[in-house]
């Protein structure tokens, strides 16, 4: 079947979600809601210090049987993690610390008790003797000669370093206009509203370990747990029940999860650990933490030439299984040229180990930082040469005629119209009216600014791309097992994981389209390794492209067989048969006949005598799918925002926010718009609110939601979304992924809007989150440089 299938009917329908009912009834089942008789709670003893040698762990005498150290867990393998490259240094992350702790919050011992409170009581009495070492908290200083090392056997603190040199570097160096800036995107947490959690028990009847896990990818976690515990994979079943958000933070195997799985075997009764918010903030997956020192070069006429400089990513104390966070630097570097016809790229990158929680993926992975850097640089270049930033962007952005276009960073943009996207965003935000308002002064003394930022979002990248990245696991396909029951209802089992994205609904729409039946007849199953085919889970905006494609293929194969059986039952020529509205229709020689698909299903499942001779019974297939082009497809868009900034308090209010976006063919517009709005809310968090700062001793300073500010309903504006639609060429129906885009551009667009409000003095909002203090300080510094009283 051709990849370009005419989208009709259910494709593009605003179908309300199938998964809402259980949540609205309060009947959803998250990991913490699982009840198994005999269940006991686990609490962890965690390191109070950022760095040190563990000299001893003293258990309370009367409770020592309830306290487990690494040695007590039995044979646990500490898995190598990170890319499979000789140049990548390994730093194993044990489920419980052995002789060294490398960040404040690292698990040292596990305590099992009847309630979580009792477990915490005992944990408080475990005495850990640690010889403290100096903490490494600054990733740039960590690379200086003589810096304290995290791993003695490493030559320095870098997991990996690289230099990317592409294009005409000499021309960039000789360019007449050079603008150099430093940017920082600080460390944050991923903050799913449901924290991580694990419930594990040994099922005596099936002789297998059952692990309920709040995860984005049950199958991959099963592999990790089986390898960690030395069990064959068929003896481990991982079940992801309802998952309360993922965003990347639930896509790595974490120490608590391995420890609890091991304890279930060791203790012989069910155990659970539910991450609390403090644990989430100090010891879950951390994200961002990029430092840039970059120079952008241009001709006098504004033609951009090159980007050059240094990128540091502070990856924390360990690499998380399977792939660590090393993609972060290469993706940041490769995205630095943005959508522009930049011809030279020279970037040195460092992925650095520090005494902070390990870094992992988070919605947008690396691109929020890269987008912030390049889009702020374009605005700064515009100011330098006295041009409007919007015009400079439009002058340099890749045009529709140039697509497909391979950037100097090696990304191949496929379909779209980037110029139209810019123009649409400008019109949506009403730039003319904003400029007019800006020219008059505000009665409250605030300054108005408008900013633009373009982003692109790679999705659907397959095996070749992941092999380039040397992944330990290559998520190059997805699969779907489709089964039509005897009454014509359908069960689709997939290997991706829904944690709010509406897969139950969109996959059903795709199958309904292919099978000509109503989506209400279709059930989607995921998140259980024993009932679903192998798959890699949901991340990297891959689900609709990969699993959607697998569902389409499975549906088509079922439809083919349904048509053959239907034709046989109606004694029609199979070539004249099609399915529509729940029936198989034949229209040979002017005679129209039809029969319900359910009759075909009945024949195939329980009345084999009705099948054509030689045809196998059942309507069941398992398909795998990988898009034609492994390089991926690119969603893109332009964010536009208007802000009001109080120059003294530094408080930023978002007055308006609009985006023009293009994610190819849309399966369900309601869900796409909601992904955009939700992604932008997270991006606003990165831009203005969320940060985990560290003291010089390596203590995390935001450990509750009182210090770690998650934007609420008054901080996140209603986003107006405009659509362009340029279907992808290499995917089913022309879809492109949409999960991450919203989160990529907010720091860039808000930085540009704030800078625009103070363009006359050249304020530099170049560090996220752009807190009131940072914004006010940036304005004061610019005023001081201009000799204006603040």
């Amino acid at each position: 079947m051709a990849d370009t299938h005419e989208p009709t009917g259910w494709i593009g329908a605003r179908l309300k979600r199938k998964e809402d009912g259980r949540h609205l009834a309060g009947a959803a089942q998250f990991v913490a809601d699982i009840r198994i008789p005999g269940l006991k709670d686990v609490a962890f003893v965690r390191s109070q210090v950022a760095h040190g040698h563990v000299r001893g762990i003293v258990k309370p005498a009367d409770k020592s049987a309830q306290v487990f150290t690494f040695a007590d867990l039995g044979n646990v393998n500490v898995l190598p993690a990170g890319p499979e490259m000789p140049s990548f240094k390994l730093g194993p992350y044990p489920p419980l610390a052995m002789d060294r702790v490398r960040f404040a919050g690292q698990t040292i011992a596990a305590v099992v008790a009847g309630t979580r409170g009792e477990a915490e009581d005992i944990a408080d009495t475990v005495v850990v003797d640690i010889d403290e070492l100096p903490a490494v908290v600054d990733c740039v200083a960590a690379m200086q000669p003589g810096a304290q090392k995290l791993f003695e056997h490493w030559a320095d603190n870098a997991y990996i370093t690289s230099t990317i040199t592409e294009g005409d570097i000499a021309r960039a160096a000789a360019a007449p206009i050079q603008v150099r800036r430093q940017f920082r995107m600080n460390r944050q947490a991923t903050v799913t509203l449901e924290g991580r959690g694990v419930v594990a028990h040994w099922d005596r009847r099936l002789e297998e370990l059952v692990v309920y896990l709040s995860t984005q990818g049950a199958h991959v976690m099963r592999i990790g747990i089986a390898q960690s515990l030395g069990l064959p994979e068929h003896k481990v079943r991982v079940i992801a029940p309802d998952v309360g958000g993922g965003f990347g933070g639930k896509n790595r195997l974490m120490p608590e999860e391995v420890a609890v799985a091991a304890l279930a075997i060791k203790c012989g009764h069910p155990v659970r650990w539910i991450e609390d918010r403090r644990e989430h903030l100090i010891a879950s997956v951390h994200a961002r933490d990029h430092t840039y020192d970059l120079t952008i070069s241009a001709e006098r006429d504004g033609t951009l030439i090159g980007v050059e400089g240094d990128v540091y990513v502070d990856a924390g104390a360990y690499a998380l299984w399977p792939t660590g966070s090393f993609m972060e630097t290469s993706m940041a570097a490769r995205n630095l040229p943005g959508p522009y016809r930049i011809k030279a790229l020279k970037v040195n990158t460092w992925t650095v180990a520090t005494n902070k929680a390990p870094m992992g993926p988070y919605r947008g992975v690396a691109r929020p930082g890269a987008c912030f850097a390049i889009e702020r640089l374009v605005d700064e270049m515009a100011r330098e040469i006295g041009r409007k930033a919007f015009d400079l962007r439009r002058q340099n952005i890749v045009t529709k005629a140039e697509l497909p276009y391979t950037t100097v960073g090696g990304m191949t943009f496929d379909t779209g119209d980037y110029v139209a996207s810019l123009d649409m965003a400008r019109d949506l935000i009403g730039e003319v009216a904003v400029r007019k308002r800006q020219s008059q002064s505000e009665s409250d003394g605030r300054a108005i600014g408008v900013g633009f930022a373009f982003y692109s979002e790679q999705s659907g990248h397959g095996a070749a791309e992941w092999m380039k990245r040397k992944g330990r696991i290559i998520p190059g396909y997805e699969s779907c097992n489709a089964r039509m029951n005897s009454d014509g209802s359908v069960i689709l089992a997939v290997g991706t994981q829904c944690f709010g994205q509406g897969h139950d609904t969109t996959y059903a729409q795709i199958a309904a389209h292919e099978l000509g039946i109503d989506p209400s007849l279709i059930t989607i199953r995921y998140g259980d390794t024993s009932t679903t085919p192998m798959g890699f889970g949901s991340f990297g905006s891959r689900s609709i492209v990969f699993a959607g494609g697998a569902v389409a293929h499975a549906g088509r194969q079922l439809a083919d067989k349904i048509k053959k059986i239907g034709a046989h039952l109606m004694q029609a020529d199979p070539a004249t048969v099609h399915i529509e509205n729940g029936r198989v229709h034949a229209s040979s020689e002017g005679v129209a006949a039809s029969l319900p698909i359910a009759e075909v299903a009945r024949a195939a499942n329980i009345r084999q005598e009705l099948l054509p001779a030689g045809m196998s019974p059942l309507l069941e297939v398992t398909s795998t799918y990988e898009p034609r082009d492994s390089a991926g497809v690119f969603s893109y868009g332009t964010h536009a925002a208007v802000v009001a900034v109080d120059p003294d308090t530094g408080v930023v209010e978002i007055l308006d926010y609009a985006i023009s976006e293009d994610c190819g063919t849309v399966i369900n517009p309601m869900i796409v718009d909601a992904q955009v709005q939700g992604g932008i809310a997270q991006g606003i968090g990165t831009a203005l609110y969320e940060e985990i700062p560290f003291s010089s001793e390596g203590q995390p300073l935001a450990t509750t939601f009182a210090d770690y500010h998650v934007p609420g309903a008054l901080e996140v504006p209603l986003v107006r979304v405009g659509h362009l639609m340029h279907p992808a060429e290499g995917t089913e129906y022309g879809v492109k992924g949409v999960g991450e885009g919203g989160a990529i551009a907010p720091p860039a667009v808000l930085g540009n809007a704030i800078a625009d409000a103070f363009r006359s003095i050249g304020a530099q909002p170049n560090e996220t989150p752009m807190t009131p203090r940072r914004v006010s300080d940036a304005i004061a510094a610019a005023r001081a440089a201009m000799g204006v009283r603040s």
Partner: protein, 157 residues
């Protein structure tokens, strides 16, 4: 020390011997097995644990079970037949006001309280009243729309 707690949970009398440190949230979830009430922070900021105590929205993570002795407590499970709640749920579904659903029970209970105190509130009022309910998925827009629509419907407007 344990203390006896007797309260009316969703219309049914329940009692138990509890440790004073046990929160109402844990009492409802662990002891009574009602799991619509979620815990997103356990320090009063996220609102996921919101229930009704004596008709007032209450963060069940900040309430000790012993202090709810003798009181009427309602969780989302107990509001299934509540007319305003039914309208809200319908609009939450129509407006796609939930993604992962973890914040949803707290959102619904808070939304019902908002509509009981404000007749057909506008979006600005709803946003202010909702500011203590965190949602990590939706970016709030559809939640605000759903409450606005439910408010209009309930006000007969």
């Amino acid at each position: 020390m344990k203390a006896k707690v007797s309260l009316v949970l969703n219309g049914e009398s329940v009692s138990a011997e509890v440790e004073p440190r046990e929160t109402l949230a844990d009492f409802i979830r662990e002891r009574q097995g009602l799991t619509a009430t979620h815990l997103g922070c356990e320090h009063g900021v996220c609102g996921a644990c919101t229930v009704e105590v004596e008709g007032q929205t209450t963060r069940s993570c900040l309430t000790l079970a012993v202090r709810a002795d003798g009181m009427h407590v309602k969780t989302l499970e107990g509001l299934a037949a509540d007319p305003a709640m039914m309208v809200l749920k319908r609009w939450f579904h129509d407006e796609h006001a939930l993604q992962c659903g973890f914040c949803t029970p707290g959102m619904l209970i808070t939304a019902r309280d908002i509509l009981s105190r404000h007749r057909a509130p506008d979006a600005g009022t709803i946003r202010k009243e909702l500011s203590g309910q965190l949602c990590r998925c939706t970016g709030y827009a559809n939640i605000v729309k759903a409450i606005e629509a439910a408010g209009r419907e309930l006000a007969g407007a």
